[in-house]
Symmetry: C2
Subunit: 336 residues, 2 copies
């Protein structure tokens, strides 16, 4: 077990074969006789050989690094996502360079430029702002995988979450818990087919499916896209006099604000109103009350995104592929 810099030639010599055969064994490229393979593997073990990535990268013309652009790595959700992507990328022998977009369309576009400039082999882009394919089209030819809510018309590799199905399941969960007057908290603009629209549609579909007539008054538009906005929306729900006994929020963050707003008015979750969120961010488990939520399989998402980027780097000509993550309803105190 030598220290440090053992090369393929060393291994080859030890195994009594050529360096090429060692390379072939390591990459299971062409057929190698069982005999030779055995000897090479033994020599690798014995010598403690480690492939030198720089040499491989030089040969292959790649950098061995993929980019991951997220809005804010200081946000628990994206931190967790980054950790998962890093882990999955490592399985494929890639390092991950993390960029922050600041949740700005400009930042998202800049991440792409930056990624190319740094000679990263590809980019996993967690899109939240860019909502038309236009700014991404000039990047054709550079491997990009979209990870997020925006759809972008099927032109790119894309891993998304089960917006309709997840929210429908969440709504049904509330119905199963006995709720009859289920409010929904959405963003303002339901004209475009955004993530928010999709989630709203899931809510309606579930109600109709269960034979409940959707009451338009039960749709509450967020006062502002902030924690405070969610809080004041919670107060409005409490003040509405509509007999709300269940709330579907389009994200856990919004859900927490709503809980706070309800409590401002003395309305308790889950005693008076049951409430469910979406995303299963880490805080949801420790929030008081802990939040029931729609939990897309985050690890699955990360693994799929990495698979996609790796295969696209290998073959840029592949047609665009779209995947939707599996999900589960996580039952916690807020719908108990």
């Amino acid at each position: 077990m030598k220290r440090g810099k053992v090369t393929m030639s060393d291994v080859a010599q030890l195994a009594g074969v050529s360096p090429m055969t060692v390379s072939n064994v390591i990459n299971n490229r062409v057929k190698v006789s069982d005999d030779a393979r055995e000897r090479v593997l033994a020599a690798i073990r014995e010598s403690g050989y480690q492939l030198n990535p720089s040499a491989r990268n030089l040969r292959s013309g790649r950098s061995g690094v993929i980019g991951l652009a997220v809005p804010q790595i200081g946000n628990a959700y994206f931190g967790m996502l980054a950790a998962l992507v890093i882990e999955e990328a490592r399985r494929h022998g890639y390092h991950v360079a993390v960029e922050q977009t600041g949740a700005l369309a400009k930042g998202e576009a800049a991440a792409i430029a930056q990624s190319r400039r740094l000679q990263l082999d590809g980019l996993i882009l967690s899109v939240v702002e860019i909502d038309s394919p236009a700014p991404l089209v000039p990047t054709q030819g550079y491997p990009i995988v979209l990870l997020g809510e925006q759809d972008l018309a099927g032109r790119f590799d894309h891993v998304t979450v089960p917006n309709e199905a997840g929210t429908a399941a969440a709504t049904e969960h509330l119905i199963d818990q006995g709720c009859e007057r289920i409010a929904v908290v959405t963003g303002g603009d339901l004209d475009r087919l955004t993530m928010i629209t999709r989630r709203y549609n899931g809510y309606r579909a579930a109600l109709e499916d269960r034979g409940i007539e959707p009451d338009p008054r039960l749709r509450f538009t967020l006062d502002a896209l902030s924690w405070e906005g969610a809080r004041s929306t919670g107060r409005r729900i409490a003040d509405s006099g509509l007999g709300v006994d269940g709330v579907v929020a389009f994200s856990d963050t919004v859900a927490m604000g709503v809980v706070r707003g309800l409590r401002d008015r003395g309305v308790s979750v889950p005693d008076d109103v049951r409430l469910i969120g979406f995303d299963n961010v880490p805080e949801s488990a420790v929030f008081i009350p802990s939040l029931s939520t729609v939990s897309p399989d985050h690890r699955w998402k990360a693994a799929k995104a990495v698979d996609l980027i790796v295969s696209r780097i290998a073959d840029p000509a592949l047609p665009p592929r779209q995947y939707t993550a599996p999900f589960a309803i996580i039952r916690r105190e807020s719908t108990a």
Copy 2:
């Protein structure tokens, strides 16, 4: 402006010099005539040349990647720290590979092994658990920079935070705000010279400095190292009947729990009790009330840690160096 793979030779040809001269210009190594330098720089601009890091790394025997091991990248504080380290490392041409230790001594040790296995050029280790040099000694020779509270007896490169001075300044801030019965919330064990002990010492020093006799009953030991533990400690403070009008908490996380515990008893921050934390984690600004806190200069820490690791990689024989970050008292609602 060619696309893609422009090499040094291309630039050299364009500038009418040898590749070596281009290399020398890029690295400002030896003396290059102004004339040649001009022409090379022009050629670089014109061709859009980019250095190929894989080739350089192969030559230099390095990987161009440094490790950063933190307890939990999903934690906002460490997410922010990671972002800063990544940014600073990029200035030096390094990529960062993020590891998670799970805040386990075992994980911290594993990160070192992993870092070597992945052939990272060095490791910035955010230590929270390892508290003796022993487990780190076998790594002598591998470039490691410690970033965190543990001291480890001056054997390693180390960037730390102003534990005593920061807490003293926090305590003085409360005194300046008119507080006279200032409680301190600490961890249990003040025998070893841990971060918590240092912060407690800063509190006492400030009181004595201002001629206030420390009252031992005003030291509250955390019921448990958790949000809930901090919360119940807050309730104990409210129930103590000691006339507490100020609280120094040894971290922002603890501070938030204490605020909650005080409010459980109808005690308002800052109206009834003023309170200050330590760390300036991102949530502190959005917490209600927003938290006054001791804010070590996080960017400075990141920059210094990167400087240290880069210089140590360059010269492993350097003596160990220790730095303490500058800090500021951030005044927010909780001490208004």
